[in-house]
């Protein structure tokens, strides 16, 4: 399947709605997968995914292909939106409740909920596995649970400076392992 996501986004920036539809088709599973992983709740993930694509449409002219890949640009919008949502208190309570339900469910259900585990996901997990436990924990609490650095420090009982260093060293190491997206 040869859909050029970059090309679709550049054409969408000129108001081309069909190019945007092609962009949606090529990227929606990634965007929805990320948003769902962060929010856990499907209904909320759908709302946020809609916001993400609307935002991408509005901002399309500001995408600069020389500064990174289109999928990376889109996933950064998706991540920021999902984190904003999870930080609103009701969303956080819903999420905690759902994770509680999920974690007491039988293992078969857990596998089903994770949907398709892609090669990318397997690669990311393997890369995370190469970090120290402390680095991995700090990065996962930030990226998947939407905690701020201060909340992570409180949760771990570690000084803020230590958390900052773990996130920075961990991400820098991941960059070395995973390479660059473009």
């Amino acid at each position: 399947m040869e859909i050029d996501v970059e090309e679709c986004l550049v054409r969408a920036a000129d108001g081309d709605q069909r190019a945007f539809a092609a962009l949606y088709d090529a990227t929606a599973p990634r965007v929805f997968g990320l948003v769902l992983r962060i929010l856990v709740d499907r209904a909320q993930a759908e709302e946020v995914a809609q916001e993400v694509f609307l935002e991408a449409w509005r901002q399309a002219k500001r995408f600069d292909p020389s500064r990174g890949a289109a999928i990376s640009w889109l996933l950064q919008i998706a991540h920021a939106r999902a984190v904003d949502r999870v930080r609103s208190s009701q969303a956080q309570r819903d999420r905690d409740a759902r994770i509680g339900i999920r974690d007491t469910a039988v293992p078969v259900d857990v596998v089903a909920e994770q949907a398709e585990v892609s090669l990318d996901a397997a690669r990311a997990r393997s890369a995370l596995g190469q970090l120290s436990d402390a680095q991995r924990e700090a990065i996962e609490l930030a990226y998947f649970d939407g905690l701020t650095q201060t909340e992570i420090a409180e949760r771990l009982g570690a000084p803020l400076g230590t958390v900052k260093t773990r996130m920075r060293d961990g991400l820098t190491r991941l960059r070395g392992i995973l390479g660059v997206t473009t």
């Binding site: 398709e116 892609s118 650095q149």
Partner: protein, 272 residues
Amino acid sequence: MSDDRRSVDDLAAAYALDALTPEERARFEAEASPEARAEAAALADTATLLGGDQAAPPPSLRASVLDAIAREPQLPATDDAPRAAAPLAARSDATGTDASGSGLGASAPAGGTGRRLGPAERRARARWQPMRVLGAVAASAALLVVGIAIGTQLGADPRQEALGAVVSASDAQRSEVELADGTVATVIWSAEQGQSAILFEGLGAAPEGRTYQAWYIDAAGPHDAGVFDAEGDSTAIVLEGELSAGAVVGVTVEPAGGSEAPTTDPILVVET
């Protein structure tokens, strides 16, 4: 480099992970060094690789997204689009002064009398006679009032943001015209951004089963620039599509849902 500056730069990784509070985030964006910004951008790219999970959204999401974007204007390429009514009003003062000094007609770069028109454009213009432009001073005063009204009416509406971007563009120009029914319309455009907006004061609702439709008319003929309805005392629209150099902005009344090409005589025609 001060200690304080270094501590801002220390936020790069947390910035890349969206792990900052809104206040910390704003501080990083305002104060971080170019090196820290570059680091944050690179690490943010890496972070996107962590989310490798894929999940199929419901088919209804696709329809709903595509329906929403069809009604959603896009922002211009610049990062500094103003958000609030305040800069919108302030900038309209500045451009208003500009326009009153030279006269609106004279300040329009592409509207000169000597410009050659293509056959299609001539055809279009035969029907789309530009309307007489009212005084420029009155235009800026009215715009100020309408701008404030829009601010309260739309709140953080993205349309207002798009409108703000057109109105405050450094090359923004405007013409104010009076429609046959007494409605005052101000057309504002920016050649640089290829965008234009219309503010109506006192526009009544379109007749039953009809809608207003905006058009750009250039050498190739009329281009649909979106349908809209009247909204109370002040109606503000940002035209869809791109304003090409010297295009004419027009509005017609069309059957509900809009037409592919204008089917009635225009109620508003303004040269840019």
